[in-house]
Symmetry: C2
Subunit: 331 residues, 2 copies
């Protein structure tokens, strides 16, 4: 009996490790997850993950052949195979490729969430026809994956694509990175909350958002208020879209992409964020780019984005010619 | 007798067409130029260019085999092989590849000056070791060529790398492109003249630059004043370097390059522009990029940059596998 080629996609988050065994077409063979324990050491976590996966893979390994493992994680570095100073994971420097490869003798590749999302869109989502596009994830922060000629731009050190940390307002909002005016302090779920706070201070309009303490404010509440016609909530989306649109006009001048794809968090607000983003991007584009760049919502089902992206990452890697296979081995 | 492989590099400017026959190592076999006539039609110009080159190549064609022709020109589009709406050339839409290939049955490729300069640095200049770098030309405007994984980023339509037209000051200086606050309105030879004008208006310091009418002001005059200790001239370089350094900090967040190479115009001022650029880039970099990105002056001899760049372009193209040879044929 011939076996079906599959890869394992793994998503590491602050609270759990989720994984899915996926074939070339993106079909799930199996999926599962393990919770992360408080202050758990990486060695312990990856041993538990290995045991869990080995257990369930054992029951199907006659039918499915594991070709490689892709991992999506915050602050993951493709070039070194490591997770570096992740505030979500409370880890300093962890060589994930090494930890996984001690149990599984297959190519293992790691990248950050946004790059994985970009590869997921390219293989399974709305970017299947695009060779040049920018993936923007609008969660608590703003992540980005840049695709040029069909490949993720990693740059020298694996950290390219930090569009969320381009400065858009000199002396602007304080950012978690220690600098000021970064795009993600305006354009993200946390950014829109800060914008609401600013708008409530500046204007006198009535708003249901005045009834919510700032530490209980969420992008979802702002979204609900906006679709119910709340003036402040709508102004917050408008302002967020303007900041994003202006930033994207600059991104287009760098990269001349076919499309920009928005996913997660604020992107789930659909037209509320896409309309002003598109308007302000077009308004600010250099003439020769006007009317050429699409802004699209993610084509991946919510919840599977990172796992499908991690699978796309390893499929992409496996199809590279052997001599350029950039799998990073343990040091 | 075996012949030596050579390519022809051509630079098209507003006043002349210069060319050089160059071997793999960058050695010139011959060079020459023809002046452009006022309001000359492209057909006439390329016929004269063909006759001139055919004439002198005829005398060496037994020893040198022409493998291809690379062309560097303002607003040249790699993807279409055309020059589009060039204000310097007063041409609307000219298919240069077609015009050249009617006389020479070899691969012909065209790109803009900044991309050619980037490829020239990569093959013959200071970027020989870099796979990821950004080339910035600081002439009347600010041109840029972005290199990722050893290849120029052209984007969807061949027009990627318009860093000079990223907006750096909202509602800032009027730009020739019809927009406001573009980087090149601050950082270019014309930009520094505008900065001097602004500084003379703002401050009361004595300056030799007060003796020069604005329409006679040049970057060279400002440079000479600066090295003679003129306060305003020095402040102008400082301010220009600050604008450039801040913009480059954002460029690094996009692309994580190993180096940024400055050439032509303002770059010839050396440390006067490089020191403040480096200082302000470092100051504004995201922590994980600090101390990693070099800022370098061009390694190409002045005057040969575009021709050597055009040669590098066609050498680069010829070494691509046949099936991906992206030479644009006549439509």
């Amino acid at each position: 009996m011939t076996s079906v080629d599959v890869v394992l996609g793994v998503e590491i988050e602050g609270t759990r490790v989720s994984f899915g065994l996926v074939d070339r077409s993106g079909r799930y063979v199996l999926e599962d997850k393990i919770p992360m324990k408080a202050h758990e050491e990486p060695e312990s976590l990856f041993l538990r993950f290995h045991k869990k996966f080995a257990d369930i893979y054992g029951s199907v390994s006659d039918k499915y052949k594991l070709l490689g493992i892709g991992v999506a994680a915050p602050t993951a570095n493709y070039a070194t195979g490591t997770i570096e100073n992740s505030s979500n994971l409370n880890w300093k420097h962890v060589n994930v490729v090494q930890l996984v490869q001690q149990y599984w003798d297959v190519p293992v590749v790691i990248t950050n969430d946004a790059n994985a999302a970009a590869l997921g869109e390219a293989r399974y989502g709305v970017a299947q026809k695009f060779k040049n596009f920018i993936q923007i994830t609008l969660g608590t922060g703003l992540g980005s994956g840049i695709v040029v000629d069909g490949n993720i731009v990693y740059g020298t050190d694996g950290f390219a694509g930090e569009v969320g940390h381009t400065t858009v307002v000199k002396g602007g909002r304080h950012c978690g990175c220690g600098r000021e005016g970064c795009l993600e302090t305006y354009v993200s779920t946390s950014g829109i909350i800060r914008t609401v706070s600013e708008l409530l201070a500046m204007h006198n309009e009535e708003s249901v958002l005045r009834e919510v303490p700032m530490n209980e404010m969420t992008a979802k509440l702002i979204y609900k208020a906006a679709i119910n016609g709340d003036v402040v909530a709508n102004a917050a989306f408008e302002s967020t879209g303007q900041m994003l649109g202006e930033a994207l006009a600059n991104a287009v001048a760098y990269l001349s992409p076919e499309a920009i794809i928005l996913s997660e968090g604020l992107a789930l607000a659909g037209d509320l964020i896409i309309r002003p983003t598109k308007y302000h991007m077009e308004k600010n584009l250099l003439n020769l780019f006007k009317g050429k760049v699409q802004i699209l919502s993610s084509g991946l089902t919510k919840g599977n984005v990172a796992i499908l992206g991690a699978c796309a990452l390893i499929w992409h890697e496996l199809q590279l010619p052997k001599h350029t296979l950039r799998v990073v081995n343990a040091e």
